[in-house]
């Protein structure tokens, strides 16, 4: 048991060290603006655009209507 737990801990300790090393090495090359946690996109983006479009269309229609009258 000691052997087993020891091996697991040893392995993961080395992994922690390796990961820290890799992170330090990789830091200068991180190109993509470091994606953080959590990153949600506004769900209503499309809806927003659509209604803006509608408003634009309506404005145009109304101005056309105005010009006619």
């Amino acid at each position: 048991m000691l052997l087993g737990m020891g091996s697991v801990f040893l392995f993961l300790t080395v992994l922690v060290l390796a990961m820290n090393g890799v992170s330090r090495l990789a830091a200068p090359y991180a190109d993509d603006g470091a994606r953080g946690y959590p990153r949600h996109q506004p769900a209503s983006a499309t809806a927003g655009n659509e209604s803006e479009e509608i408003v634009a269309v309506i404005s145009a229609a109304i101005s056309r209507y105005r010009n006619r009258s």
Binding site: V8, L12, L15, A26, Y29, A30, R35, Y37
Partner: protein
């Protein structure tokens, strides 16, 4: 009339043994837990159904020439199915939380203590007449403490195929019971003040780090623990498919088609090992009991290691997240979050618990590799 006699002789009613009936009821129970209680339904439903199918008298679905026999023979005996599941898990897992805080790997390591404690426990159980677990059996049973289904199935298929049914059922059942088993232990071992600790936001992780991570893990696995290479290798292969961003077709296949198809077959095949003569034994009771103990010890060890890390870090680590080190992704992390919220309504620990949670998957695979190296040769 000859035909009528043949028909009657073929009837289930005329051939059913008590053992088969009982096993079918066990199958129904598993399905009930899966459907009504949502206990790991993706696995327990097919396992339960496989148990029913394989215990139908005279149908021989799990015997040579039957469907479940072929599936077991091709997918489990070879170890192929759990490895493909692991590839899918890798493709589905975002290791970002772990990369942001590598020290949570210690929590994932501590939670594997349950595995090795159970190994001793299983060997101790041999003192009781009626139990006779070999070292290989004991190792396969102990892995239940890792709370990782595919790892348990893979190890059992290598070390103790006869116990595979009971081990898989125990592993998935206890994984499903995480929300019930863990909270009392977590509350018992931590103070209110500790549970209140708010952790600082995780640092952002670059895409390059996410790509390098699987290679780092694989490299260490190659150097120090090749016996874990099939498990770790496929897990990391799936993760690479996910992170590199140039093979989306393959990543999607691993995350959906392959893992879904294999899950159905894996479940049915595991269920086919729930035959009366293999399952209705004293040993199964021992396995279920040992599994529960393993699980509790693992949780406790994770929390205690969390307390150590809390001390060392000067109170920056909430010890609760140690409980997530048992794996059982993402259930264990959610439980941590829930228990944390009980103490502090604004303390969301989910992201911080994901680190030890995915570390637990790696930890179990490493533990399995150690067991294979020491016992399996």
């Amino acid at each position: 009339m000859n035909g009528a006699e043949a028909l009657w002789q073929s009837m289930g009613i005329a051939n059913m043994t008590w053992g088969q009936l009982l096993m079918m009821l066990v199958g129904c129970l598993l399905i009930y837990l899966a459907v009504a209680r949502k206990f790991e339904p993706l696995l327990l439903l097919p396992i339960g159904f496989g148990a029913i199918l394989s215990n139908i008298p005279e149908a021989g679905i799990a015997q040579a020439g039957g469907l479940l026999y072929y599936i077991y023979h091709i997918g489990i005996e070879t170890g192929v199915f759990p490895l493909l599941i692991f590839m899918g898990v890798g493709a589905l897992t975002d290791f970002g939380a772990l990369i942001a805080m590598p020290s949570t790997l210690f929590l994932g390591a501590a939670a594997q203590f349950g595995i090795f404690a159970t190994l001793i426990g299983a060997l101790t159980l041999n003192l009781i007449p009626g139990f006779n677990f070999s070292l290989a059996d004991a190792s396969a049973i102990a892995i239940i403490g890792g709370a990782d289904g595919p790892t348990a199935i893979f190890l059992a298929s290598r070390l103790a195929p006869d116990l595979l049914g009971a081990i898989a059922v125990a592993a998935y059942s206890y994984m499903a019971l995480v929300p019930i088993i863990q909270p009392p232990i977590m509350r018992l071992l931590t103070t209110e003040k500790e549970r209140n600790i708010v952790m600082s936001q995780l640092r952002p992780v670059s895409r390059l780090e996410k790509i390098l991570f699987p290679f780092t893990v694989l490299l260490l696995c190659i150097l120090f623990l090749p016996s874990a290479a099939p498990l770790i290798g496929m897990l990391m292969f799936g993760n690479i498919l996910r992170e590199v961003g140039v093979v989306d077709r393959l990543s999607r296949a691993a995350q959906n088609e392959i893992i879904n198809i294999v899950t159905i077959f894996l479940g049915l095949a595991v269920g086919s090992k729930l035959s009366a003569d293999k399952f209705l034994t004293l040993e199964t009771l021992g396995i279920l009991a040992l599994g529960a103990v393993a699980f509790c010890i693992g949780t406790a060890a994770g929390v205690l290691m969390g307390k150590v890390m809390c001390k060392i870090s000067g109170g920056k680590v909430n010890p609760l997240i140690g409980a997530a080190g048992v794996s059982a992704v993402p259930m264990a992390a959610r439980v941590v979050n829930k228990v944390g919220l009980e103490s502090n309504h604004h303390n969301f620990l989910l992201m911080h618990a994901m680190g030890p949670n995915v570390a637990g998957v790696i930890g179990s695979a490493v533990a399995a590799g150690v067991l294979l190296a020491v016992v399996g040769s």
